[in-house]
Symmetry: C2
Subunit: 539 residues, 2 copies
């Protein structure tokens, strides 16, 4: 770390979720008077997200900053490295991180390593999902989703094309597990209440659809509670499609496994979590992508290496099954792990991890919740009050408790917020997916981007006086299109349609002009291409 | 507009600042029972920013959403077009806007047009300022600045190089007018209080510098009050450099007109506002880039076209000088303008605009302010209490008043927030500026971007065993560099230094690989270039 003194023991924790932060907090408590141990924590954010409250960021019923707590406040004696982990070298006890200001390499050494990297959202392998579905895992995701929803309402309010209007007012969430249900409940409340501020939107036009692969939502809960939640959401207007999977997404619709297309401009996927690629690349033993640890939470064959939370495979010795990847478990595992590290530093015996979950509660928005606590089933307002009370008490940091309590109080008395905060600059380079026989752009459209075909085939069509629509050319992988209108700053001179399923890379107008103006070989390339295309006879 | 009924009169307002929104609010009030008039407002944000409170977003003493009010709540009977204005055709009474979802053109027709487009931040003509200085005008700017400051503190906390540490802990604000002074006051409070949460930062290492071109800050106020504010900021640790201008900025320092370089990673410029290019492009008469209107706020030679706020040149008939571009004036102008539109619809006489400013107050952070109200000079805690009371009373929307009052109360009792919210994706394409003889990157650095030279000259150097540093080649406008390490995924194989002042376009790793992998001509281009460069004999 910053100034390693070689007699000091260095404990390095990777990951700023519940597992990592609670390990650091417990270590600080246990090592209070031990100045010979340095604790380091690498986290790509400088805050801990209190994930159970993330859905409330969508509706703004809780302040954006109030779902998160600064890690430095929670563990003030830990060195926080606000960086991304880039590689883990278990052989040489070295972790490399991303750079800060300036491109210098950066590395940290350790004596004990705690891997708490969680899992990641991965849409790999599903056509169009990573291009067109919004993830819902991090705070940034919740903000992006909120802004996207408001943008859709703004556009619907002034849209006269009835089909596009319908797509703008249709919101599809894939995944009926805990996070999907909590997200759909808040989203549904928010769009229905928020739409009242829009002059030309009738709340009855709004469709909120939940896609779930099994016959009943909330598989984590007992069947009667799940049924209660399902009925309640349906009563509030959520269209729940059971035994249904999302298979393809485009900019215009969600395609279901039964073949149905739901036209929508807002598709959220809470389903797929995949192992962190850093964890996947480690040489140690894994099960289902998670690191296998022993009952003391140590990684086999790598003394001094530990794993905790969603990325760890910890078997419950009573049931023989792994503990589930929840915050509740990560916190208990972290406490046990911290004690075991201290025990191993002091040469004392380590303890085995064991924990019986206390229960589960899912917020359903609008003063209701559902769950089971210590074997007692709860639903409705009582569950909701308990849900708020429990989460308030668990929220780390006293100032956060006050802020959240205040937010909740104000939310009861004030109308929902519909301001849209955009801080993102234009993306420059993006990716899009089209299914066969779709219009990518139409003659006369504004030219806002260049397309480069990754795979698939498109055809370029033109409306010619007296001849009708003629095919100008077909293009495939490695070809680009859309450059003529971009260079000449005119509307699109032709219509482009996909012939097959097509993946493209897009470059926006600003990026294209910056490169085109300043990279002469690229300019020459496009000028030649444009000349050829403008001179080419109609095929 | 959406469904124009040809008998209806259509009033279209451009701009969602105080001028535009208060025009719409007043029109709604005056036209309550007149269903034959349609009001439309085009605004790129769906909220009105209460700018006087923007500096408090830096410190987080006020919730991010609470400085802004949804426009739809303020004028519920106005059609809000949440788009950007792209062109104004005064001859044919047509306004074109940006597209929503999808690239279709969009246009609006009008009978009366109110131009309330304000002015914009423009760094044109100052080398490096637009690339490396942060603007401070919109809500997005305040959020970006806040995140940048926290990022600098995070990096300083783990940085061991003393020079870089010093640059990370130096914060420079250019411009000692109202907005610069309010921003520097909040920034200074925030970094000094926030730094206490960082283990390895000593608050005494922090430098906050205010650059001001004149001999005294706050030229808007009487001299003794400005002197009071100046002394107070200095006492709180702000290093005020008077009679000093910022001339050049790079990623590493601010260059002053005296030749001094201040190493910094955080440079904020509140100085330059320029006419909105849309206004500049209009054929009507202008003064200093502002639209000349008569005393009824009508644009000469264009009946039915009106202008209000910062983009309008309205002469005070008592003094013969134009009214200043402040919110206070924009609101009064908007009310007068709305009355005059209604009068002209009804064929009644119009009134002349006249207004005597009530006074000015500048917040100085940390329970102090300074100002003059109705001729009475105020400073210190009394001014601060008045400042908060006045702004709270002026804040549009009842729910916002409650939220802001709550924020202020919590801020008195809770510690400052240091969480950093990043929603921005990587920018893809960027711009940077270097002064002569600077290292752009060093051999061994990480390869994180490609550089394309817009203008200037660089030299590529390599450390060769036995020979020391040798010059491999010189590159100029239209050349690119940095591709070898990007393609091979290795550290930089050479050092690149600027020989002259250099402007570059950068393309980040992800964008480069996307284009390189999928655009075969581009790949061939770079492969040829790399072969040539690797084979070229040392010059």
């Amino acid at each position: 770390m910053a100034n390693p003194q070689r007699n000091n023991k260095r404990i390095l924790i990777l990951g700023g979720g519940f597992g990592g932060v609670y390990t650091a907090m417990t270590l600080e408590k246990l090592l209070k008077r031990t100045s010979s141990v340095e604790i380091g924590l690498v986290s790509k954010e400088n805050y801990l997200v209190f994930q159970p409250l993330l859905p409330e960021v969508i509706s703004g019923s809780i302040g954006i900053l109030d779902t998160i707590t600064p890690i430095r406040r929670l563990c003030p004696n830990t060195n926080l490295y606000n960086r991304e982990v880039e590689s883990i070298d278990l052989k040489n006890n070295i972790v490399r991180t991303s750079s800060g200001f300036g491109p210098r390499p950066y590395q940290l050494e350790y004596d004990h390593l705690v891997i708490a990297l969680g899992n990641i959202t991965s849409f790999a392998g599903q056509p169009g999902i990573s291009e067109h579905a919004l993830p819902f895992k991090y705070l940034g995701d919740a903000l992006v989703l909120r802004n996207h929803i408001i943008h859709a309402l703004e556009e619907a309010d002034i849209e006269t094309n009835p089909e596009l209007r319908r797509a703008l007012l249709t919101f599809v969430i894939a995944g009926g597990g805990f996070s999907g249900v909590e997200a759909v409940a808040e989203l549904n409340d928010f769009v229905r209440a928020g739409s009242r501020s829009f002059r030309h939107i009738n709340p009855e036009e709004i469709q909120v659809v939940l896609l779930h692969a099994r016959p009943l939502i909330l598989p984590e809960l007992p069947e009667d509670l799940a049924q209660f939640a399902q009925r309640l959401l349906q009563r509030r207007g959520v269209d729940i499609r059971l035994n249904t999977r999302l298979v393809v997404a485009t900019a215009d619709y969600a395609l279901l496994d039964g073949g149905e297309k739901i036209p929508t401009k807002t598709l959220v996927s809470t389903v797929p979590s995949a192992p962190n690629p850093l964890v996947a690349g480690l040489p140690c033993k894994k099960e289902s992508g998670r690191i296998v640890v022993n009952e003391s939470l140590e990684v086999a064959d790598y003394p001094g290496v530990w794993a905790v939370g969603d990325c760890a495979w910890i078997v419950d010795r009573k049931t023989g099954t792994p503990y589930p990847p929840t915050a509740q478990h990560a916190i208990r595992e972290a406490r046990c792990l911290a004690k075991n590290i201290v025990a191993s530093l002091r040469g004392e015996p380590k303890q085995a991890f064991t924990f019986q979950a206390l229960g589960m509660l899912a917020g359903l928005g609008h003063r209701s919740a559902v769950g089971e606590i210590l074997g007692v089933k709860l639903s409705g307002v009582v569950a909701w009050l308990l849900w708020r009370a429990i989460y308030l008490s668990k929220m780390p940091g006293f100032d956060r408790k006050i802020r959240v309590a205040t937010d909740w109080f104000l939310d009861l008395v004030l109308p929902p917020d519909i301001v849209q905060i955009r801080t993102e600059k234009s993306a420059g380079i993006g990716r899009e997916h089209f299914e066969p026989h779709e219009v990518i752009f139409s003659q006369g459209d504004r030219a806002d981007r260049l397309y480069i075909i990754v795979d698939g085939e498109v055809e370029v069509m033109k409306e010619e006086p007296g001849k009708g629509e003629v095919t100008l050319r077909r293009l495939g992988s490695g070809d680009c299109f859309g450059e003529i209108a971009l260079v000449s700053d005119r509307p699109r001179t032709a219509t482009v349609r996909s012939r097959t399923s097509v993946n493209v890379i897009t470059m926006d107008r600003e990026a294209f002009h910056a490169l085109f103006a300043h990279l002469p070989p690229l300019r020459a390339l496009f000028q030649r291409l444009i000349e050829q295309r403008l001179q080419a006879p109609t095929q």
